[in-house]
Amino acid sequence: MLTRKDFLLGTAAAAGALAAPAVRAQAAVTLDVLHAYPSFARFFTPVAEEFMKANPGIRVSFRQILPNYDELHQALLRGALTNQLPDVAFSGFNRLPELARTLSARNQILALDTLIAGEGASWAAENFSPRMLALGKVDGRQYGMPFNASSPIAYYNPELVARAGGDPDRFPDSWEGVIALGAAIKRAVPQAMGVSYYINSFDSDWLWQALVQQGGGRMLSADGKSVAFGGEAGLAAVRLARRFVTECGMQLIGADQNRQQFATGGTGIIFDSPARLAVITNLVGGRFPLRTAPFPITDKVNGGVPTGGNAAVIMASDPAKRRAAWEYVKFSAGPLAQKIAVEMTGYLPVNLKALAPEFLGRFYEQNPNARSAALQMDRSLPWEDYGANGPRIHRVQQEILTAIMRGDLTPEAGLARMVRETEALMRTA
């Protein structure tokens, strides 16, 4: 029979067992790390193992992985309220500004500028391009250290391109060229879509920003306070969006449905994240020899592509943990960790040294489809953030874009409405 004494002894023993690792951790620092997307464990885990091999005094332990950047963001905000923040978190680029502003107001996030300066004058310049480092900056301070980065690329079906009379080895580098090729595919294979540029159903405004930024436009003014896509570049972008439908036979279907249709050979060209390279390659199977190409850029001087991905943020408050966290963050952005992450996903490396032959050089020779993302590394622009109302603004914009693509609104009227509604939502944020 279980007596009260037994019960007390048992629970005390259990509590002791639970407390034991904490006692040991005082000798070696344990970092509590949080990241999103369960499938990312396949590179987060080996990177952490390599890190622990190089730093025996530090242990990395991962919290329960969250499904996406939004839920990660939400978990961090909750953690800030209950004082249960992890020591290091990998925040989505598009969520970083809001996270940094909220947490710095509560004094719960570490700015990395002095740590970077402490590494020596040339360290930052040798490892990172200024555009890449800028992705982790909020209000002029470096809160995040980029870890994964990606910008949209073209995926195409070389067989359909060839049937339309195009050259599969020379993918167009302008949008006029893409439209012409898409229209030719539609004429050659009437039941197929020539091009599908699914900003009507993509789960963020990333692809829409890409269409504006490649033409030299920006979503927001330099100070981030007013809408800047109402001009020429924005108009060119919405006109392109409508032409995908009218000239290239695009149907307005869901993002997953688009990927399925492309994989079965029913679409000539799609645009998506290079992080989906492995997924799309698997979907295609051996049906056709899938090819990728860099994102076409109309304005060769000011044009660029928005960068998705995540940056490491340090939230530890204890000095010893902060030191250990910086070592881990530095390692993650280093060439070896980047090699591991890039080879498994198709992301582009954030570290310049990672391109060397001993790291990723050979991999790119063997996997030309993965190279497209790396080729546009110097085209990286920030994934622009509208502030607290960002996700809401995306939803409104997506509806208007859908209406433009369906032909319910003219590109001019649609763009004007998009600017108006975006400004209204930015004001109420």
Binding site: D70, E71, Q74, L76, L77, R78, A80, L81, T102, A105, R106, Q191, N200, S201, D203, Q251, L252, I253, G254, D256, Q257, Q260, Q261, T264, G266, A388, N389, P391, R392, R395, Q398, E399, T402, A403
Partner: protein, 307 residues
């Protein structure tokens, strides 16, 4: 009694027997009351208070805004659209889900050897996980790859894109909703049918009720009153709470044609982090649900015959 003896203060034990009994009763009820208070009533009060603030998740400062959230909600076109879509959805799913299930149950009930086979077939959708089924639906309804569009085209409907046409998306989700709950409602009706005593049918036959329709209208339908009431209320509530199909299949699109109350609430609370506004929306949804259930219970209660 040992429990009460331990927890009651000494004074109570020496008080009059009546008082002691009352105190003991209160002591026994206390844990349940406490639980109700902490997990139901207290959060409800917090919800009501939150709905009067502009609280955002993670914010340091909170401002009291009175009824501003409610005012904004009723002038918000997205919220109004969500209300309209939700009621349209309920208006479709409720009759189809209840009468469809009744018809299926009546037919299945009449089988003897094949009854369990049909029961399993109709109950399968209830046991399947919708998020997993979503991939199947996406494929089935794919305008170029799936079989549904060509099938409808061969029946003379033209080439329809059921998930991506703003005029059809809500109806498509409603059909999937009926598919999901038909089996569950059928089982409830089957239980109701089995509980009807055979001698009632014999008595009706003696009194001259001839034919299946007569038997159904005179005996089956009145005797199923309590079951029908229960099924109607639960179907209304679950149709009102439509969420999973919207998230996995349409995300409220195209053009907001499938925005529903719970989905918009989820966006506001968990994507836009506007906790105060989402709390106000929750209060409204709660009020709708209570009102609907009470109304139905009162209306139907009057006509239900309890055997």
């Amino acid at each position: 009694m040992a429990f009460a003896a331990v927890f009651l203060p000494r004074a109570a034990r020496s008080a009059s027997p009546d008082r002691r009994l009352a105190l003991a009763g209160a002591a026994f009820a206390a844990p349940a009351a406490l639980l109700l208070l902490t997990i139901l009533l207290a959060p409800l009060v917090v919800l009501l208070l939150l709905s009067l603030t502009d609280y955002r998740l993670g914010a340091v400062a909170v401002r009291w805004v009175g009824l501003a959230n409610y005012a904004e909600m009723f002038s918000d076109p997205v919220f109004r659209r969500a209300i309209r879509n939700t009621f349209l959805y309920v208006a479709f799913v409720l009759p189809a889900g209840v009468f469809g299930a009744l018809a299926v149950a009546a037919l299945v009930h009449a089988r003897t050897r094949t009854r369990s086979v049909y029961e399993v077939i109709y109950f399968l959708p209830v046991t399947s996980t919708l998020v997993a089924m979503a991939t199947v639906w996406q494929f089935l309804l794919h305008p170029t790859l799936g079989p549904v569009t060509p099938l409808l085209a061969s029946l003379g409907f033209g080439r329809l894109d059921l998930l991506n046409d703003p005029d059809l998306a809500l109806v498509t989700l409603a059909v999937i909703g009926v598919w999901q709950m038909l089996g569950f409602n059928m089982v409830l009706f089957l239980a109701g049918l089995s509980a009807i005593p055979r001698d009632l049918y014999e008595a009706a036959a003696l009194d001259g009720a001839a034919g299946a329709i007569d038997r159904f209208l005179r005996v089956t339908w009145p005797m199923l009153g309590p079951t029908t009431m229960f099924v109607t209320i639960t179907t209304t509530i679950s149709a009102f709470k439509v969420f999973d199909t919207v998230v996995v299949l349409t995300r409220g699109g195209p053009l907001g044609a499938t925005d529903t109350l719970l989905y918009v609430l989820y966006l506001e609370g968990f994507h836009y982090f506007r906790t105060g506004y989402a709390a106000a929306m929750t209060v409204i949804v709660l009020a709708f649900l209570c009102a609907l259930s009470l109304l139905q219970a009162r209306l139907i209660e009057r006509r239900v015959h309890y055997a």
